[in-house]
Amino acid sequence: MDFSKILLVLKREYFTRAKSKSFILSTILTPLVLIGFGAFMVWIMTSETETDKSVGVYDQTGVLVENLIALDSVRYSNVSDLPIDTVKAMVLREDLDAYLLLEEKHIETNENAELIYGGSGGLAFSSSVRGDIRDVIQEERLSRANVSDEVKELFARRPGLDSRKLTAEGEAEDDKAGFMSGVGFVLGLLIFIGLFGYGAVLMRSVIEEKTNRIVEVITSSLKPIELLIGKVAGVCLLGFTQFTVWAVMYIGISMAAVPIAGVLMQDQISEMADTQDIEQVAAEAGFDPASLEVLSIDPMIFVYFFLFFVLGFFMYAALFAAVGSAVDSEQDTQQFMPILMVPLMGAYILNTRIMVDPDSTLAVVASMFPLTSPINMITRIATTDVPVWQIGASLALLVASFFGVMWVSAKIYRVGILMYGKKASFGDFAKWIRQS
């Protein structure tokens, strides 16, 4: 192995790509697109999806309808005086979206009230009506039972739960499980994007050398394995460059955001400062120093992120390169992509479970299995306390399978890069591995 040659390949791979317009553009635009996408998602989640629907209440008890109208006068109207057939006709004519049939038995027994709707219902609509009915019926039941105001108040109160975590020092600290599982998911997502995105970059680079017909000139100067390692390392470094730029951008934006937010709030604060204590104002504005404490992330997580990204990337990159070497054009990669897609997508889907249940057997297995561990283990590490032996075993398995995958891929690569005009099959792969 000649490291000076590997370094030459690495430098070429890195600099020609880092200087390219597409790299610079994607480095700048990706965060903007992500921010835009995030904002869009928030907009979708918060936007009022519920349209105002009118519900006629056909109330035979005579007590519930008033309370319902008091609860939501826009939605509910009293149709108890009309014949039921007229009400049905109104729903069919779409004067009403639905009608509610309420009887004495709904208060006295556990029988469910009925909501009958025309056109379309919608889950959000029926569940919100259900909530209203529950409140109203419960209130009526309580008042009929003649309970004291104290008991009524007890029913009105909902018990909550605050969670805190016990640390080695024996002190309970503020729980940040919610935040950390979010961080874990994002880190897993970043590794997923990195493995997939940069793997594809490497694959295209291998195909490019083949279609440009330069690869034979190159292999008359160095070993295919040296070319492969140099290329993988070059693209890996490219990935780090992009992640670093994004991290710097993120930190820069958030650092800029605080003073800007401060300026915006300045007026409010100075107004209120006349009458109130500054500290209190700050607290009300959300500047609680403790809240920053909750958001801090253990730096070791980034060390693990680095380790799992590099090892995972080298393993997947070797596979991507093997696929690239076996084809003449990007279109021809289709038949081989499932080998790469299935474990990567699988790990990503598993991650949505692992972030909420990081100690389940499924999570432990997925974070050990080398093809999914780069993505799933980092999520677990961020979300829960993973035993050191599990991290160690996961890393060891990853390193071992990296060498295995590299060994097989290098054999395919060696033969593949010199094959022109022939579509390779899985059978050819097996032949090439045996041959070289």
Binding site: L8, S20, N212, R213, E216, S220, S221, L222, K223, Q435
Partner: protein, 309 residues
């Protein structure tokens, strides 16, 4: 002095024996031609000499050393499938390729500029290869092959796809390199180039080296059994000849290879009866003729059919 020594090499791909027990020696300071139809094993042999592939059996030594990354530096190789990075600038690209051959940056730059000047290509240094015309990028390819000043030059089908100007230029370079004491090995299936340039030849067929030696000696060993005939008049009498093979036939010229030792004077008599003879000359067979008679006409015909689109 032997500079490339190939001994009993074999290479199979699955059941296909691409190279089957081939041995030959290339002498220092000479031009060595590797001939043969497509698929005869020339490229596989060349790749093994370049240490791109390893032989299944046998050995290859370059300058007395077993083929290895070290011997790769002694060779400048231009493969049949040529190409460069399209998105890379000319100078960067040449620098990269020569550095891979072990040259230091400074020496590499000097060599690159020397050759760019010689090819009137100094203006292109900052251009991307994708912007260059085909002829221009062929020149860059030559420079990439020779800039690190190796002792041995290997060209696989160097003249295929070259425009006439570059073809002549490459011929001149090869002659110049030879005059500077360098060794050149090239493969081709075009015989006239071999006759013009090669000192030694090795003829491949179906993975075997079927004929080799100094070009002069190979030709002499076939004897003066060929007739160069120039005539005026009706050439249809040529079709009546038996036991001959007609090469290079045109309206007033024919190269007649006489088989089974029949009397050449009879052919002359027949010719005189039908046409006015301008020239009748007994010569050594052309390399093309040697090629055909060694490889076999049927074999070649099959080859041509395969090549036809």
């Amino acid at each position: 002095m032997t500079i490339i020594h190939v001994e009993n090499i074999r290479k199979s791909f699955g059941k296909n024996k691409a190279v089957d027990d081939v041995s030959f020696d290339v002498e220092k300071g000479r031009i060595f031609g590797l001939l043969g139809p497509n698929g005869a094993g020339k490229t596989t042999t060349i790749r093994m000499i370049n240490n791109i592939l390893g032989p299944d059996e046998g050995s290859i030594t370059i300058n007395g050393q077993i083929a290895s990354p070290l011997t790769q530096k002694m060779i400048g190789y231009m493969p049949e499938e040529r190409g460069l990075y399209k998105k890379m600038k000319v100078e960067e690209q040449l620098l990269y390729l020569t550095q891979l051959k072990g040259m230091k940056t400074k020496a590499a730059k000097e060599a690159i500029h020397y050759w760019l000047d010689r090819f009137d290509a100094s203006d292109w240094t900052k251009k991307e290869v994708g912007e260059l015309s085909k002829g221009m990028s062929q020149k860059i390819q030559f420079i990439a092959t020779i800039a690190h000043d190796p002792d041995i030059y290997i060209f696989d089908e160097p003249f295929s796809g070259l425009d006439p100007i570059n073809s002549d230029m490459l011929k001149d370079i090869i002659i110049e390199l030879k005059n500077n004491g360098k060794t050149i090995l090239f493969s081709t299936h075009r015989m006239e180039q071999v006759e013009q340039m090669c000192d030694d030849i090795c003829l491949f067929n179906k993975g075997k080296a079927v004929l080799q030696g100094k070009l002069r000696e190979v030709k002499a060993s076939f004897g003066k059994n060929t007739i160069n005939l120039e005539f005026d008049g009706d050439g249809s009498f040529l079709d009546k000849l038996e036991g001959v093979r007609l090469n290079n036939r045109s309206t007033n010229f024919a190269e007649i290879r006489v088989l089974n030792g029949q009397n050449m004077q009879d052919i002359l008599k027949l010719a005189m009866e039908h046409a006015e003879i301008h020239k009748f000359e007994r010569i050594e067979p052309s390399l093309n003729e040697i090629f055909i008679s060694t490889v076999g006409e049927d074999n070649l015909k099959a080859q041509r059919l395969e090549e036809a689109p």
